[in-house]
């Protein structure tokens, strides 16, 4: 049936938007997280300049993910957001702070320390709350009669805090590897050092989250370990191990681009892993994508917009990254 195809299509678009958001805003949030470790002056200016041209384009995927969820899966939007209410508010406020810091940091040198703090704190809060939200969704949301039926702190658990920390560390890794690629001199050396420790921490966090997930109430373990699916799912941790090895190797050989690409690959594999755990639910064990989908006519109505505009956005994003392919200097790209 055509409508079922469109539901999968829309789930794919929103999954893609979320993934694009996570990897792209991930590295620039990561730079905010690493900001206190960078020296005031050249190192911070270089780091900021390396993401200045692209960060807001990165962030707009969050609007597309949120707006798309609302439009294509209104029921899921109406369940997940109230369930993670304080997290969403904190994330938005963090992003507001950090967004205006980009703008205002350059307007008055006397105010710069203040906006640096806002930038770092906002980035940390946004990353942490995104991670906690992921944990909250994985551990399950109480749904009764198509509505959220829990309290306003149900999301809080050791597991969700663990995923929160994991995402902060992972974004930090993306940021550090990005800096290896995009900066030079002391910034780059510093980024190499932290990348080593952050990569170890990311793998540890990934292992901890993976180990904890099967102990959640649902049958995640069956999806991962039952035959014959295990032949496929086992490839995910295997590939993670290969990517991690390549990352460390690239770091040791002082390659500039490989660590970032491998960090991205690890994130992608993590995302595939989440897909294996969750699909076809949007709210695990409660609401499938078909339960949550908007009616067929709404899906069709949005189709031209998605098919025309998203490719243009992608082409333009690619072009923007191409324009800024070099090293970021203290005064911007050159």
């Amino acid at each position: 049936m055509a409508s079922i195809d469109l539901t999968i299509f829309w789930a794919g678009i929103i999954g893609f938007a979320v993934m694009a958001y996570v990897v792209m805003d991930g590295f620039d949030l990561g730079i905010g997280i690493l900001f206190p470790s960078l020296a005031v002056g050249d190192e911070r200016d270089q780091a900021m300049n390396s993401i200045a041209p692209v960060w807001d384009g990165n962030e707009t995927w969050l609007v597309l993910g949120g707006g798309g969820l609302f439009a294509a899966f209104p029921l899921a939007y109406g369940i997940i957001l109230p369930a993670t209410y304080p997290l969403m508010i904190a994330m938005l406020l963090g992003l507001v702070f950090r967004g205006v810091a980009f703008e205002f940091r350059w307007r008055d040198p006397r105010h710069r320390p203040l906006w640096d703090v806002a930038f770092c704190l906002g980035s940390f809060v946004a990353a942490f709350t995104q991670g906690v939200t992921l944990g909250a969704i994985l551990q399950g949301i109480r749904v009764e009669q198509d509505a959220y039926a829990g309290g306003w702190l149900d999301w809080l658990s050791p597991f969700s805090l663990l995923t929160g920390i994991a995402v902060v560390i992972g974004y930090g890794l993306l940021g550090a590897t990005w800096l290896i690629w995009k900066t030079e001199g002391s910034s780059q050396r510093h980024a190499r050092r932290v990348t080593f420790w952050l990569a170890l921490a990311t793998l540890a966090a990934l292992a901890a989250v993976s180990a904890a997930t099967p102990f959640l109430a649902y049958d995640y373990w069956r999806r991962w370990f039952a035959m014959p699916g295990v032949l496929l799912t086992a490839q995910v941790p295997l590939l993670v191990a290969i990517c991690a090895a390549a990352l460390f190797w690239g770091l040791k050989r002082e390659f500039e681009r490989l660590p970032f690409v491998m960090a991205l690959a690890i994130f992608l594999l993590g995302f595939v892993g989440l897909g294996i755990s969750i699909y076809p639910y949007v709210v695990p064990r409660a609401v499938t994508i078909w339960d949550a989908a908007a009616p067929y006519s709404s899906q069709v109505f949005m189709l031209p917009g998605a098919l025309v505009i998203i490719p243009i956005i992608l082409a333009y994003t690619g072009w923007a990254y191409w324009v800024f392919r070099g090293k970021a200097g203290v005064h911007g790209y050159h």
Binding site: M48, L92, D108
Partner: protein
């Protein structure tokens, strides 16, 4: 500690706060985008440097305003779900796609043209740059069209059916949904309001610099242009508002009656209540000052036409009358004050004293922010007047909210207030500083610093001359 508050009231306060704050920026950037287009067109046509100077002067301000609009807009795309999840679930199949188009339009506009407009003059040539400016102006208008369509559908829902889950779904074609009965009126009224808001900011800034230096060519030109807008567009806006009011009387009579303070029916023609204290408990206006028959003349274009009263409607369907009554009066008073400034400027122009009458300039400075106040007051009138419904007549506000806990909503409301005043307060400070500088001749283009307000605008790479990087 917040348990004694009603979470629904808190959620409404939060939404009102965040959306009002957000609305300020597009109200300015819609008008400013069109103004920039006009300035660039005039420059291309006449070749006069003053237009290019003004274009660059206002372009820097536009970048900051647009950026703050995007940052505050990100919040809005999540506020529907966090605070109004039941509404989102039920109305999502209809308003979700419209809002998705709004987001995609904004996306498209930023991705394609904002960067060129901000930083690309030397790179792409005059014609292509002007095209980009036009597309940005068009994009802000298309964005406004979608979001006004959403809002209008909530006021005058049309073209819907209700499915087994209780959701509003399209009954067939999307055209009656998009072009619902109040949409054209609201769109015209809102877009003109954005133009007037910008005109008065531009006029106020021009007047400020005229008071300091009457000979400043940029200040003279922007003041003159703004005063033409005030003189020509303020009357059009009053007519558009009147037409919008008639439309509202047809579809949401209770809202209009609350705006007018008409509790009791007036079979022989309603008076126009100028002032008074609405008293909903007693269903009358205390200390009423009114002009007989003028109310009916305005609303029905016939002084003796009968009008119903709020008492003809069930009390549980009344909007909060005093808020609507007062916000409406603030909006109308400011509208007429704008008209007054426009007429005053015509007189000054007629006597060739437009740049000399310092009291006119002082008044224009006072009226500089009037557009924002009027826009917010008008927004309050229409949104509070929609109460007690989110989808008018069909879905009550009391049945639309998320399963909320008062402490969470109160804490987040306080956090929003603090963060917004801090973050956007700093933004306003920087904006005022930009406006405090007089427009000079040879106004430099936006500096090649990472000030990308929004969009994937490849700034330094496009503008920085070779070797400027380091």
């Amino acid at each position: 500690m917040f348990d004694q508050f009603d979470p629904v009231v808190l959620a409404r306060a939060q939404f009102a706060f965040t959306v009002s704050f957000h609305f300020i920026f597009p109200a300015f950037s819609i008008g400013l985008a069109s103004y920039l287009m006009v300035l660039e067109a005039l420059w291309l046509k006449t070749g006069r440097a003053v237009y290019l100077d003004l274009f660059r002067y206002w372009l820097k301000i536009f970048a900051v305003v647009f950026g703050m609009g995007v940052v505050s807009g990100v919040v809005m795309s999540y506020q529907f779900g966090t605070n109004w999840s039941v509404f989102s679930t039920k109305a999502g199949p209809i308003i979700g796609p419209l809002m998705a188009y709004e987001v995609l339009t904004a996306f498209f506009l930023e991705a394609g043209f904002l960067g060129v407009m901000l930083f690309g003059m030397n790179k792409v040539g005059r014609r292509l740059h002007f095209f980009a400016t036009c597309m940005v102006a068009l994009g802000t208008l298309i964005s406004a069209t979608w979001i006004i369509s959403v809002n209008s559908w909530m006021q005058t829902p049309a073209g819907y059916a209700i499915n087994a889950k209780g959701q509003f779904v399209p009954a067939g074609s999307w055209l009656p949904i998009i072009f619902n009965p109040s949409f054209p009126y609201r769109l015209v009224h809102t877009v003109i309001a954005a133009y007037l808001t910008t005109a008065f900011v531009v006029g106020g800034v021009g007047a400020w610099h005229l008071l300091k230096d009457r000979a400043n060519a940029g200040a003279r030109t922007m003041f003159s242009m703004a005063m033409w807008m005030a003189a020509l567009v303020a009357p059009i806006q009053i007519l558009a508002g009147d037409a919008h009011g008639l439309n509202t009387l047809e579809h949401q009579p209770a809202k209009v009656l609350a705006m007018e303070g008409d509790y009791q029916p007036s079979p022989n023609g309603a008076p126009l209540i100028l002032f008074g204290l609405p008293n909903s408990a007693e269903a009358r206006v205390d200390y009423e000052v009114s002009i007989p028959h003028l109310g009916s003349l305005i609303l029905k274009h016939d002084p003796f036409a009968s009008l119903p009263g709020l008492v003809d409607f069930p009390r549980e369907n009344w909007p909060p009358v005093p808020i609507v009554f007062w916000s409406f009066r603030i909006m109308v008073a400011l509208g007429f004050a704008m008209l007054g400034i426009g007429l005053w400027s015509l007189l000054a122009r007629f006597r060739r004293k437009l740049y000399d009458w310092s009291w006119l300039h002082r008044a224009a400075i006072m009226m500089g922010p009037s557009g924002f106040v009027a826009v917010i007051a008008g927004w309050v009138t229409t949104e509070v007047g929609r109460q007690p419904f989110t989808v008018y007549g069909l879905l009550r506000t009391a049945e639309s909210h998320s399963p909320l806990a008062a402490p969470a909503v109160a804490a987040s409301l306080i956090a929003f207030v603090i963060v917004y005043f801090f973050a956007f307060g700093a933004g306003f400070y920087y904006l005022l500083r930009l406006m405090a500088k007089p427009p000079g001749s040879g106004e430099p283009p936006p500096p090649p610093m990472p000030q990308r307000a929004a969009g994937i605008t490849p700034a330094p790479g496009v503008v920085a001359p070779a070797g400027a990087g380091r």
